[in-house]
Assembly symmetry: C2
Homo-oligomer: 237 residues x 2
C-alpha cells in the first residue's frame, strides 16, 4: 500500500514527517505543495486537506492531515519502527502526547507567528508586523524557557529525560529550526540563553543524520537568500 | 490505584475530563484549583503541573497534564471504556487525533481568546480588549464553519460521521459551551449560522446526560451572574 506525503521542505511539520519516514525506512512519494504560491488552496489539494495546510498523507485510500496525528499513525502503522519514537507503554506514550499537545499553543504558535511576521512576510505577500513579532517572541522565549527548565529535565539528552528521541523531539526541533531564516543577531538573542535547548537540538540532529541536514537543505538556501537581501538593504540604506 | 483530577468547572478542558470519567464509571477525586484566584500558580499545584493550567491528573504516582493527552490516557488505561471514545483501530484513531490536533490553533484559540477578551476579562483582572475580540471571533467563526462543512460531514450525528461520540466530540463541544458566558445576542450571531453545529451539540449533550448538564452547572451560574451585571450596567447607563 503506497504512501504519499504532501508537503514542502519550508514547512517545519512537513520536515518532521519526511525525516521520520527516512529514519525508519518508510518508503514514500514526496509530493511538493508550495504554500508560498498558494498551491495548498488548489481544488486538487483541498481534496486531500480541506484545511489547506501541509503536511498531509494518503496511505492507500486513507487520507490524514495534522502532523502530530500523522507521526502517531506512521509510528503505529508501519512495522519495525523502534518503540522509542512513540512507545507502546501507556504512561510513556501519554507523556509524549502531553508534549505534543502543549506544543501547539506555545512553541509552535510563538515561532510560527514570529517567523511569518518578520522574515517570511514578503514571501507570503504580507507586510512585516512588528507588534505581532513582539508578542510572538515573548511567547517563543517563554516556551523555550519551559523546554529548558522542565521538558529537558532528567538524565537523558532528549525530552522527558529520554535516552532516545521521540516524535516530540522531532516535531519541536524542526519547529525551532525555522528560526534559521531570521537575522543571526535575532537568533542569538532568542536561543542564546537556552544552553540545554541548543545541546538538545544538536543531539537530535546527530540522532537523525544524515536525513536531518538533507531535509533542511532548502531552509538553509532560503536563509542565505534572505541574509543576502538584508545585506543589500543595509548597504543601500 | 487512585485517580485525582485537578481542575475547575469553569475550565472547558477540565469539564471534558470530568464528563468522560463520569460517563465511563471511572472513579476520581475532584480537586478544584481556582484559576480566577491564581491557585494554579501555587507552589503545590506547580508540582503537579509547572505550566500552571488545569486540568491535570495524578494516577497513583503518575502525573499528566494537557486535556487531550489525559483523555487519550484514560480511554486506554481504564478497562471497560467503550471503543467509540478512542478506537483501537489505527485509522479511526488517527482521524480523531487529527480533529484533536486541529482544535488547538483553531476552535480553542478562537473561543478561549474571545471569551477571555470580552466576558471573563474583569474576573481575570484584565481590561476587555476589543481588538483581540474581533480577531478571535473571526477565527472562531471560521473554525465553526470548518466543523459545519467538513468535520460534521457523513451519516452519523458526531464528528467524522461517527454514530457515537469520541473524546474529540467531548473536547470540542465543551470548548464551544464556554460561549454561554457571552451576551445572548453575541451567541446568536456566532452560533446562529451553524445549524449542524447546534444539532451536534444537542446530540453530544443527550449522549452524555445527565453528566453534561451537572458538570456545566457552574457555567450556567456564572452566565446568570454576568447577564445580571450587564442588565444593571445597561440600566445605570
Amino acid at each position: 500500500m503506497g504512501l504519499k506525503v504532501y508537503g514542502h521542505r519550508m514547512s517545519q511539520p512537513a520536515r518532521a514527517v519526511y525525516i521520520f519516514c527516512k529514519m525508519n525506512g518508510i518508503e514514500f512519494e514526496e509530493i511538493s505543495v508550495n504554500f508560498f504560491t498558494k498551491k495548498t488552496a488548489s481544488p486538487v489539494f483541498q481534496e486531500i486537506n480541506p484545511m489547506k495546510q501541509v503536511p498531509a498523507i494518503v496511505h492507500g485510500t486513507f487520507k490524514l492531515f495534522e502532523s502530530h496525528a500523522i507521526l502517531r499513525y506512521l509510528a503505529c502503522a508501519f512495522p519495525g519502527v523502534p518503540d522509542h519514537w512513540y512507545p507502546a507503554d501507556l504512561q510513556k506514550r501519554a507523556k509524549i502526547d502531553s508534549v505534543l499537545d502543549w506544543h501547539h499553543l506555545n512553541l509552535r504558535h510563538g515561532a510560527l507567528r514570529l517567523v511569518q511576521a518578520v522574515a517570511l512576510a514578503p514571501k507570503l505577500g504580507r507586510q512585516p508586523n512588528p507588534q505581532v513579532a513582539i508578542e510572538a517572541e515573548k511567547l517563543l522565549s517563554e516556551s523555550l524557557e519551559k523546554i529548558e527548565t522542565f521538558w529537558l529535565q532528567g538524565s537523558g539528552p532528549f525530552l522527558l529525560g529520554n535516552s532516545e528521541p521521540s516524535i516530540a523531539d522531532l516535531s519541536l526541533v524542526c519547529e525551532i529550526m525555522q528560526l534559521e531564516v531570521l537575522d543571526d543577531k535575532d537568533i542569538d538573542r532568542i536561543l542564546g540563553p537556552h544552553k540545554k535547548v541548543q545541546q538538545w537540538m544538536e543531539d537530535t540532529k546527530t540522532a537523525t543524520k544524515p536525513h536531518f541536514e538533507e531535509i533542511h537543505g532548502v531552509l538553509f538556501e532560503v536563509k542565505a537568500e534572505l541574509q543576502k537581501q538584508r545585506l543589500l538593504g543595509a548597504n543601500n540604506a
